[in-house]
Amino acid sequence: MCVQAAAAWAESLGTHMPPTTRPFVGLSLMPEDDFRRASFPLFEAGEVEILEWSFDMGWGPSGVPVWTRALIEYFSVAERLIGHGVTFSALSAEWTPRQERWLEYFQHEIQSRNYLHLSEHFGFCAAGSFHQSAPLPVPLTETTLRVGRDRLQKLNDLVSVPVGLENLAFAFGLRDVQQQGEFLDQLLEPTNGFVLLDLHNIYCQMCNFDLTEEAILESYPLHRVRELHVSGGSWSESQIENISPVRRDTHDEAVPENLWPLLKLALQKCPDVKAVIFERLGNTIRHETDAQQFRADFRQLRDIVSSHEFNS
């Protein structure tokens, strides 16, 4: 799709964006072609009310396709764009030139587009010679709390919209699971930040630690939840004998049936949710049946949010 065609197409979506008093329902945008093919029917039908963009993906040397950029710009102008960073590493103890550059790019990003709010991940994904990895949890200590608050303050110093953190799926053990809600609350308190509550991450911890949804949800500062993530995942078999498989947040399969009741419960318990975002990784929608499942999952999510009774 050429730039003009992409822009015209994105502009044509304008008639499908009615205001709503419930949370907006949207997609996490992926730049891959399989995601484009699967999601275009949803965009063209005006079913996508808000767009989440992992903006630091767009800083890579390959940039983003024109259709991706057109969508981002369209939702930005419509004030229906939210940002989600992946590589800042908010709980890395060492402050590095890489993070300084990340902040420079972040500042450029937020000056270029209208984000309603911005989030990053709990945990650290860079340290020593590693400039990138998957986010890993850290224990709640005076040191980790001070470091995390400092990083959040650095983000807040650059923006005028709310800044939040997403809960992690991965935990080294039960202690990480039990601490994360309190840790997030203490991290976010000085800047009045928000929690991006990923429900499949909660589901992973329910499966991996044999915990109930109530037990995990109640450990989080639910009054801070401003955004929900919904996705599928997969099971990882262990090479260790007699060890249960591990549920992982891989964003590459259908949403598990048990997640829908969790979404309903979260909507009941989180009074300030502004957006519910469906995530599916690019390059995982391999067949038409996958694309149909992708759209079916999104529509089920939308139906649940639409039918939920909100106090306001």
């Binding site: 800083w59 040397p61 550059r101 990340w102 790019y105 020593g128 998957a134 080294f172 990882s236 260790i240």
Partner: protein, 99 residues
């Protein structure tokens, strides 16, 4: 930015943990190193709660998504106008670490 001694201790722990998880060793060996290596000592009360099956997952995550200074596909700094964030790798997949 000046780091305090406890931040340096934490930074050393985090760097050593990523290095350890990136090595081609078993979860049992990772657990042994966490118990015995001096760099992990300040956080041993926490790392004793690490379960082998999750050390195994963490190791696979770091091997899959981790990029270090010695990674072969590390990009050189590129002009900002090109939309390039220095330190990024070239493949689309490796730009998006999942949890």
């Amino acid at each position: 930015m000046n780091s305090t001694p406890d931040e340096i201790e934490l930074a050393n722990f985090q760097a050593a943990l990523l290095d350890l998880l990136a090595q081609p060793i078993s979860p049992e060996e990772i657990a042994r190193r966490l118990r015995e290596d001096e760099v992990f000592a300040p956080f041993r009360a926490n790392s004793e709660s690490f379960e082998p099956r999750f050390l195994e997952v963490a190791a696979s995550l770091v091997k899959k998504w981790g990029r270090s200074d010695s990674s072969p596909d590390l990009e050189e700094d590129a002009p900002r106008e090109a939309g390039t964030f220095p330190g990024y790798t070239t493949s689309r997949e490796s730009e998006f670490p999942i949890k």
